[in-house]
């Protein structure tokens, strides 16, 4: 469990290094997929299957499709992968920074600090996060209303931003 946690956390950080090191957007989106998948792994390891499922479905099912579409929209003929020189430079610099900072804390990390807080959590039938999210329908009802209202507002924001533009590359026909 400790080793799996170590591996997952390491890939989590590595995935964001891949996003942040400025490759072409397709590859950055791929890095974000890796980050989201590893984030699901971290959440499962800490005993939150429902939140992990939500992250997996919403992120990989919803948002990354949209990002892939937008990457296709903003496509370029000569993409930059992680092999090209400026990207490699950024990656090396970011990784060196992460390793240096983690070396500061390395002494304080013992074996059980990698695991999660709930021991023997595998034996329990129900997890707290499912019930906690369900609280949004009772006690946190106003938060649900606000979120739904913001999603509606965003719909109008997007429509107003992209409507009525008659110049430029992508014309509204």
């Amino acid at each position: 469990m400790t080793f799996i946690m170590y591996l997952v956390l390491f890939s989590f950080v590595l995935g964001l290094v891949a996003v942040a090191s400025n490759p072409s957007p397709y590859f950055a989106a791929l890095g974000l997929v890796v980050v989201a998948g590893m984030g699901c792994g971290v959440l499962v390891g800490h005993g939150g299957p429902f939140l992990s499922l939500v992250l997996f479905l919403i992120y990989l099912g919803g948002m990354l499709v949209v990002f892939a579409y937008s990457a296709a929209l903003a496509a370029e003929p000569y993409p930059e992968t992680w092999g090209s020189r400026p990207v490699v430079t950024y990656m090396v610099v970011y990784l060196a920074g992460v390793v240096l900072v983690s070396a500061l804390f390395w002494g304080g990390w013992y074996e059980s600090s990698w695991g999660s807080a709930d021991e023997l959590g595998e034996f329990s039938m129900f997890r707290g996060d499912m019930a906690g999210v369900a609280l949004m329908y009772s006690a946190g009802g106003w938060m649900l209303v606000i979120s739904a209202w913001v999603l509606l507002l965003t719909l109008f924001v997007v429509l107003e931003l992209t409507r009525g533009l008659s110049r430029g590359a992508l014309r509204a026909v």
Binding site: A71, D118, V157
Partner: protein
């Protein structure tokens, strides 16, 4: 500072650094922003799970809804700049300099 705390802090800082330093495309900047929001989601969920604070576990969902709003507004701005400027390069956003 536990390892998970260090992991999401470093991912957030990496996303921030990637957003702040040289970006070519607006879409890459939005992806960095999305990576930052993703590490915030992980941070909130792990706080809930580590402390067994069950009632707080709806907050990552709210965060996810708001970050979806932010991402869609950003993509709409990407389309709008592609229409007005003809490209999504951040270098071409130079009409307002002093």
């Amino acid at each position: 500072m536990t390892p998970v705390h260090f992991a999401f802090s470093s991912t957030f800082m990496l996303g921030l650094a990637g957003l702040a330093f040289h970006r070519y495309h607006l879409l890459s900047a939005l992806l960095c922003l999305e990576g930052m929001m993703l590490s915030l989601f992980i941070a909130l969920s792990l706080w809930t799970l580590q402390l067994d604070s069950t009632t707080f576990s709806s907050s990552p969902m709210l965060l996810l809804a708001f970050s979806a709003c932010e991402a869609s507004a950003g993509l709409a701005l990407l389309v709008a700049t592609a229409r007005t400027h003809g490209t999504d390069r951040l270098q071409s956003l130079n009409l307002l300099q002093c």
